[in-house]
Symmetry: C2
Subunit: 381 residues, 2 copies
């Protein structure tokens, strides 16, 4: 098999030095044939299906130390589909401590099996009519608020010139705030504000819902003229997102929320590096803007991690469009200028709570937000 | 709000003693309104939506120690649907170290929103025609094997009197082993063996596949007369499984595989206890038999964990049928009698690799398997 038919996964493995080769070989077997080497009776299967350990490199010291291990898997084992790719990546070994996935190189034909983002950075900029600066965004919240009140928030934000307004990712179809009612109120708000300002905010309702309702939510949103859709891949299944992104008739961008995925990222010794999932994988399945916890907020990602995510959403990946890094998670208006400097112009800055709490005048808060990031831009020049 | 309208989650939280109240309150806010207390302007929302910390109990010693914390959430925040329930349970806090979910008490109306297992232990026993002893099961593997060869394995296993034969969970629709071809070969094998022995093995093909193909796989399987379906909830999305389980026309039991979920379970300080997900949650979404790594195999669950999973699949949960505990993951024939003793009769014992490797005579290996667990049963009496 030629190398361009292989997907290479990089692991950091914590293991005693006398075990590292065995542990590495076991991963290559576990993630493919799921039986010990002795049970793989056909040599052809060993050659064409089982992963190949291509390098083992010590990165720490002492007897129990860390090793950088690279394993190349035949792309055919993915079935060129998301669920089996996830299984190959981290199916059974998710149960094994001491294994952390830190990188992945896709093969060309594997990537080509996916459409990727339909809009990407350029498409969203065109829809928003914003070029040469970061986009500014906020969230409608909290759960418990009526659709009318959510609509009122949406109006005040739209009027103030914000670019994107998304539902909080916990806003589903509640009896006290129905999905359709909320979308209707918000679209009325967006249109009314546009009548006054000439600028139309893009509203992204949360379409995350049960299996039988998610597509209906999307249909309703399209008819209402929404700007895009918010969806949580790990709540609805990542392949559901890939399917949505692949539908021609769904001609709006997708914003992902990382709900329920965090446990993959918070350990030094196991799990998966955030940029592999919230960056590379989400972009592959067609996410146009990926929300993730920014540094300095109420979660624990550092600058290096955030930089790696942003890079993996925007680097060169065959035909895939670039996705918008969308840092969020307790970002403060006080430090938003610094965040804008960190990312440069290709970023959606998503500020929720701080935009509600700075003062009672939401419009004034948004103008402050806008000034902070454009002031910062002027200072840069 | 009365207590029976609340879902109570138990956490073990690792935090400094001066912080534990604050950390607990923050969880109650983060998982519901996602804003600080000061931003929850309507008192009604605080009362009706935000979780209530109902107890904090120290379980360790020292300044940084562990606390058992119980938080009661209004059931309405779940939207009575799987994705938002997952978000409430572990959406944003999955990004926070030091928080482990160790238990959950569902409210009655929340459970009533779900159908649960259609078959359960009694239904599967009836289909298999097996009463008063554990069921014995195996897996067809490895990836790379042709559909004809998989069919040949299936024939030899069927002929030997095994109760359930499942696809390996990595067997999807491969060009070298198509889903339909595999199901056809296996059903021919099962029928041919039944003609000789009078006993029909239940074949569970793996229907895990892309969003647009999973239901087609199920339709094909039903037409072919399969015994049930294998599906990996975390690869296709848990709510997809709930949807399948809820369809009247899908009149076959579901077996779940825990692929990609393991990272939730392998840490002392964070994640979710396995019995909450592989037991309680999987049963809620309609899994009739839940595959999980047994103690003493090639993964790291201990006896206590396995016992807790088995208990949560079979305890009293309103109208929910009891699901079959299905331990697997490197179980050896040498110790299978001990495993059978551990679980008692209501268990499906799933042996894969060891059943292939004991000798070249698969039929003889199955007879050994059967004798071990029935011998053990005789000794018990």
């Amino acid at each position: 098999m030629t190398d361009d038919k292989r997907i290479t996964v990089t692991y950091v493995i914590t293991a005693p030095s006398h075990d590292i080769e065995k542990v590495s070989e076991e991963i290559a077997l576990e993630q493919t044939v799921e039986v010990p080497r002795s049970v793989v009776r056909e040599e052809r299967i060993f050659d064409e299906i089982v992963g190949k350990v291509i390098s083992i490199e010590k990165t720490g010291s002492g007897d129990i130390s860390r090793y950088l291990v690279r394993i190349a898997y035949p792309e055919i084992v993915t079935g060129f589909q998301v669920p089996q790719f996830m299984n190959l990546l981290y199916g059974n070994i998710s149960f094994k401590p001491g294994i952390k996935i830190t990188g992945i190189n896709f093969s060309k034909d594997f990537v080509r099996a996916f459409r990727g983002p339909k809009f990407g950075i350029e498409g969203i900029r065109k829809d928003a009519g914003v070029f040469g600066r970061p986009l500014i965004a906020t969230a409608l919240k909290p759960i418990g608020t009526s659709a009318d009140q959510i609509g009122a928030f949406c109006y005040r934000f739209s009027l103030s010139g914000i670019d994107i307004i998304k539902d909080d990712h916990g806003l589903v179809d509640f009896p006290f705030c129905g999905f359709r009612e909320r979308v209707s109120r918000c679209m009325e708000a967006v249109a009314k504000a546009e009548g006054k300002t000439g600028k139309r905010a893009l509203y992204f309702p949360n379409v995350t819902d049960s299996f039988e309702r998610i597509m209906k939510n999307i249909e309703f949103g399209l008819e209402a003229g929404v700007g895009g859709f918010l969806v949580s891949p790990f709540l609805v299944g990542p392949d559901t997102v890939r399917y949505i992104a692949g539908c021609d008739w769904i001609d709006k961008p997708l914003m992902s929320h990382p709900s329920f995925s965090g446990n993959l990222f918070t350990h030094g010794d196991q799990g998966i590096s955030p940029e592999v999932i919230l960056g590379k994988f989400f972009r592959l399945i067609g996410v146009d803007c990926s929300v993730y916890p920014n540094f300095g907020g109420r979660f624990h990602f550092d600058r290096e991690t955030c930089s790696a995510i942003a890079h993996s959403l925007t680097d060169d990946q065959y035909h895939l469009k670039r996705s918008f890094p969308t840092p969020a998670g307790g970002m403060h208006l006080d430090t938003i200028a610094e965040t804008a400097r960190f990312y440069g112009e290709d970023v959606i800055l998503l500020v929720g709570g701080s935009l509600y709490s700075r003062s009672d005048d939401l419009g004034e808060n948004v103008r402050y937000f806008y000034d902070e990031i454009t002031e910062q831009k002027r200072l840069q020049k």
